[in-house]
Symmetry: C2
Subunit: 490 residues, 2 copies
């Protein structure tokens, strides 16, 4: 792509000015349409050092009201803190909300090509990175994001000239660092790496636009043209459906809920006390090891209302050092969460390495409550199984332990517990009208849950069912599974 | 993809029956919706030999009225005739019309992997093939086609068993050939080649669906499920806009029409006669060489009404052997042409090797009359520049010579000629009301033509302007250019 790229003709000053004005006005007009259509726009600027990315971002944003955009400056090494998350994490944190722009001053490309250049990524690791990036770009696009990708291109000679100009002035000298000079020196090998990356990530819905950046005004014009055109196309495509990809991950073969026996899944008081003590002690030690070995752990709880999730989680956390874990209770998304990719609020709640996050309800809301209440379209939730598997695969590949619990009770048990809550003043806060409404939809939920479990029980992140008519039984089982899975990883 | 693929669970007979009936009925119901929505559906079956592709196609079509589908049996070597066209040609010929199904019993994948296996494609040639396939699949998808791709997967053992069963019966013995046995023997190396191809062509809008074909009923069910789901999604996406890809082909820098001087572009009668004779003689000889060297030649004429295209073409054809060339006058598309990708009627009119096709008007109608008369959407014609460049690149890579002429006159000259036609009884058939209407839109056309020429003057297929106020001058210039370009290639 870069190698065949031909320099753009620069029109005469007058024509350039007219065209620039046209595009600037067009962008200014688009920002309100964007807002009305709730379209999130992610604009990624990559390219050669000293190609003028920052300058052009500065010019583009002048046409947009400050309420409608932010600039994410990612052109830096990840911090020590950020290194304790999946490599995509620091970028995903920054994705825009619906109706707004986010301009990325470099993004995941820069990190990957830098690592390749530094010899930190071998062929396989590079391919994995590219695979992850293609997945996240596709997911963003499928979930209604406009992702526009610019590569700022200048020649070796032009880059050298610019670096020399910067260096020759004591006020700008500081802006040229070792890496810039190295890139210019090794221009050809960088070019090969860039070229390959661009080809590997040039998808029909998230294509690359190469910007001839040898002339600043022309660079601005090209960026504005591609950006405006992209927004025009995206605005015409609201509520587009997306092909449902086949799930090609290796799967377990879980039982249906109706096939799971809840009888005889109980434990005596004495045995429970003894087991609880023993298992919590073991978990405490494993928790310490996990911390020292910097393993990230994700424990996800889903289950029927009143199935006993809270008490179950408590028996896990009791065994853990409070500094090492966090429980994330998941309710309906806040407005700023709803305005982003539905996995964003989980991405941003991930544990860092050595830590444990316990989700009390999870991203599976997409294929349960959001599906049944019509909070997303059919195409959205049908697509979500694969998107969720991809999300969990990314985390497992990062090194995380993922344990997913379905806390199971029968309908009668739920009724008993609901009634008990209703009749016990100190438990009344635990029961709401919504719980009763959900209960009315038990059968619909059961169908959805069976589908969910069958489509997301991957070999790398299977579901575990906790039979919780006897809550104590369920707690002991949960502890055992967590211990087993941590041991496996350690 | 194949390597991680896990066998599908077969439900019990009753459940399978119910599900099959559901999907069959759904497909039967979809065919009318398809027709109403004018959605063309291309279903590609690829996979291991003896995996049962043919059987399943047979079962799927039972649910569809014969008026709405055809089966394209491509699982054979291209004929000697077909080998004289670009490798995509025989497949593109078969693409479905709007509102209809076309089932491909193998398609371009089979041809490519067979050639790789036979050692006929080296790494570079393989990559080129894959690139061409990705382009055509994207173009089909962008132009409203639903392209569903199935790969029928069976294990080495299962394949061996099936081949043995076929061989053991004298009625089916003939169906097993050397290639089948060889594929089974070299199962692992075939697997690697298949795997790579699937990964190289697995695009988000035209993804692969792997069918576990070890059980026939399950294979049918999977195919029906993916097919129905795909149609449902596509029906929801009518008139979707598509991101306009950047044109990254190397470009010439042509003049605007208004910058082209028409003065002094004339020739004396005597000089004309002499030159014509000399050049036609030279072209005649070159025509023979082209024929013997099996070079395909495409000469494309566009120009203002009454610019003199017809007479110009005549001076070319006079020099050629009537058996070696054909002139294709291009009018509005016929219904069966309109119902397909707009380039289809040009793909199917390509010359075979050693032959010359002269197009009197061309695929550039998309960005002239179709644009200005609103026969296609803005997104359609904006996308077309790149699609056309891709099309011409494919032909040039195949080995074709492409010469594109724009026959240029000024507005006054056109008026003179129109008036002359009007007033001369034997020329009156040449002038219609439409010509006058087009003339009223001269300025709009001029803008569109300037854009067209600037966006499609690639290095490999540039436009040549023939100044045709003096028609004789234009004819001599055309002959010279054709001669020069043929010589270059020979």
């Amino acid at each position: 792509m870069l190698k065949d790229f031909v320099k753009i003709d620069v029109p005469d000053d007058k024509e350039l000015k007219t065209k620039l004005k046209e595009e600037r006005d067009h962008l200014a007009a688009l920002q309100m349409k964007l807002k009305d259509a709730a379209l999130p726009v992610m604009v990624i600027f990559e390219g050669w050092n000293a190609a003028g990315k920052g300058v052009i971002i500065g010019k583009v944003i002048r046409n947009i009201d400050p309420r409608f955009f932010k600039v994410a400056t990612m052109d830096r090494e990840p911090s020590e803190e950020e290194k304790r998350y999946p490599f995509l994490y620091r970028f995903i944190k920054e994705i825009p909300e619906a109706g707004k722009f986010r301009f990325f001053d470099t993004c995941w490309m820069e990190e990957v090509v830098d690592e390749v250049l530094a010899g930190k990524l071998d062929e396989d690791a590079y391919k994995k990175r590219v695979h992850s990036i293609n997945i996240i770009e596709r997911q963003l696009c499928d979930n209604g994001y406009l992702v526009i990708k610019f590569f700022f291109h200048i020649s070796k000679k032009e880059q050298k000239k610019r670096l020399e100009v910067l260096q020759s002035d004591k006020d700008t000298k500081w802006r040229v660092d070792e890496e810039d000079l190295l890139q210019n020196k090794n221009y050809e090998s960088c070019l090969n790496i860039f070229e390959r990356y661009l080809e590997d990530t040039n998808e029909s819905r998230t294509p690359w636009y190469i910007i001839d950046a040898s002339d600043k005004k022309m660079a601005e014009l090209q960026v504005l043209q591609f950006l405006n055109q992209g927004i025009d196309v995206a605005l015409a495509n609201q509520k587009m459906n997306v092909p449902i990809l086949q799930n090609t991950f290796p799967m377990d073969k879980p039982q249906k809920l109706s096939e799971i026996s809840l009888e005889d899944k109980s434990i005596s008081e004495d045995e429970y006390d003894e087991e609880l003590r023993r298992l919590q002690k073991e978990l405490r030690e494993l928790g310490n090891k996990v911390y020292r070995k910097k393993i990230p752990v994700i424990i996800a709880y889903e289950g029927w209302d009143a199935a006993g999730k809270g008490g179950n989680i408590k028996r896990i956390t009791e065994a853990l050092d409070p500094r090492d874990y966090v429980v994330e209770p998941i309710a309906s998304p806040e407005p700023h969460e709803k305005a982003r990719h539905y996995l964003w609020r989980f991405w941003t709640r991930l544990p860092k390495t050595g830590h444990i996050t316990i989700f009390d309800r999870t991203w599976y809301g997409r294929v349960m409550v959001e599906r049944l209440e019509g909070f997303c379209s059919e195409n959205d939730w049908q697509r979500a199984y694969n998107e969720i598997n991809e999300f969990e695969k990314e985390l497992v590949d990062w090194g995380a332990v993922i344990i997913k619990f379905w806390v199971q009770i029968d309908k009668d048990t739920q009724l008993e517990r609901f009634t008990d809550r209703q009749n016990t003043p100190e438990k009344q806060w635990k029961i709401t009208d919504e719980d009763w409404r959900n209960r009315d939809k038990w059968d619909l939920y059961e169908t959805a849950i069976d589908e969910m479990i069958s489509k997301t029980s991957t070999k790398f992140a299977p579901w575990y069912v906790l039979e919780s008519v006897d809550k104590k039984y369920a707690r002991i089982k949960a502890l055992k599974i967590v211990i087993e899975q941590l041991k496996r990883k350690l």
